[in-house]
């Protein structure tokens, strides 16, 4: 999978991952693991596990599957670390592996059955308990909207809007052109908005 992604990058004239001249704070740990210090891998995990779990959960939408994906990601990273080129930033490389693992697990799981309900937004006189319940419902609906996106758009949206990577970084991680990332995230944003507008019916002409 990684080799295929690199091939795409080469085809598109993009260098494999970033050439940022800034020193990677994780490089020391990577160097130690490559030198045979297995314990240093725990340090790498400490620095990056939040990101990996977050990416996996946002792409897969399932807590247990995301934990499995994170575990598999780190095992793959450990196996591939001897081939990692020092000087490249580690985190984008790690996230790229995490996204590939999520794709693999997502394919194995197959499409999820998404129950769709209409949601009435609370009016002016709604109680706090009612508002809390409706907030939960709204979260569920937005997650369903994200889960309904094609995998490419979902990954691009998660990495660009939720994880905060730049368009160019996302392009390198996903092995696609920046213009494709822009098009995918724009499409995904519009679909999420349309999904929310369709399912969140505001009472008495309120804002959807």
């Amino acid at each position: 999978m990684l080799q295929a992604t690199e091939a795409v990058l080469m085809e598109e004239g993009l260098s494999p991952l970033l050439e940022i001249p800034v020193a990677d704070p994780l490089e020391q740990l990577v160097r130690r693991v490559q030198g045979g210090e297995t314990e240093a891998f725990e340090g790498l995990m400490l620095q990056t596990e939040k990101r990996v779990l977050s990416v996996a959960w946002r792409i897969l939408g399932d807590r247990h599957l995301a934990e499995d994906a994170a575990q598999e990601t780190y095992l793959r990273v450990f196996r591939s670390l001897p081939g990692f080129r020092l000087g490249e930033p580690f985190e984008p490389w790690l996230v790229r592996i995490a996204v590939n693992v999520c794709y693999d697990l997502g394919r194995k799981r197959g499409p999820r059955a998404v129950p769709i309900e209409f949601l009435e937004l609370p009016g002016e006189a709604a109680s706090s308990a009612e508002e809390s319940f409706l907030l939960q419902q709204r979260r569920t609906l937005v997650r369903q909207g994200l889960a309904g996106l094609p995998p490419g758009e979902r990954a691009a949206l998660v990495l660009r809007d939720l994880e905060g990577f730049s368009t160019e970084e996302v392009a390198r991680m996903l092995g696609i052109r920046p213009v494709t990332v822009r098009s995918q995230v724009a499409s995904a944003r519009a679909k999420i908005q349309a999904f929310c507008a369709r399912l969140m019916a505001a009472p008495q002409g309120g804002r959807p």
Binding site: K50, L53, L75, G145, L162, V185, R189, A190
Partner: protein, 198 residues
């Protein structure tokens, strides 16, 4: 005069993905167009809802558990035979072996079924257009077919070590039996596949 609506550009503008001149033009339009302004507002809301709903649920104990599981697998050397790939390969291998075994069993069964012993009291063939023309096995035959069950005596000219494979098929018509003699032959000789009546 108002510029055309910018609804299709709003999803890019909302997260700052437009170039500076496009952004300036779009914002100039928004200042004049209530419809596009409302659409931009809805998009801003849905982006905020997205961020709020996709806040990861993991806490420190979850991360600690993950770390412990990974380090345990790494330290016990389990990564040498990683999780999902090896079972897949193993299962593919097993499935291939099972398929081959099944195929060979079916093939053997299919071969064995028609060559069951033929009863001696079968009627004579209905047509006389097919005279018995059993070929004489040539002495060059050196590798008889293992599945062949010779049910008839060989011709006296047959050498003892060059026995041809003989397969008999009893068709649904009791009067018709197909006998196939298979043997290695010199390149000049034609293949002989005679039909023989009982």
């Amino acid at each position: 005069m108002m510029t055309p609506h910018v609804l299709d550009q709003l999803p890019l503008w909302i997260e700052g993905d437009l170039a500076a001149p496009e952004t300036a033009a779009l914002e100039a339009h928004l200042s004049q167009c209530p419809e596009c302004r409302r659409a931009a507002e809805r998009l801003r809301d849905s982006q905020a809802w997205l961020r709020e709903a996709l806040e990861p649920p993991f806490e420190a104990p979850d991360r600690q558990r993950l770390r412990a599981r990974v380090m345990e697998q790494i330290c016990t050397g389990a990564t040498a035979k990683p999780g999902p790939r090896m079972p897949l390969r193993r299962s593919l291998l097993l499935a291939s072996a099972a398929t081959l075994l099944l195929a060979s069993l079916i093939w053997n069964l299919e071969r064995a079924r028609p060559s069951r012993p033929v009863h001696p009291g079968l009627p004579a063939p209905l047509s006389s257009a097919m005279p018995p023309s059993r070929p004489e096995p040539t002495p060059q035959v050196s590798r008889p077919r293992p599945a062949a069950r010779p049910s008839r005596a060989r011709s006296p000219e047959s050498p003892p070590l060059a026995e041809p494979a003989r397969i008999e098929f009893q068709t649904s018509d009791p009067a018709v039996r197909i006998i196939w003699l298979a043997q290695a032959k010199p390149p000049s000789e034609p293949i002989q596949t005679p039909l023989e009546a009982p």
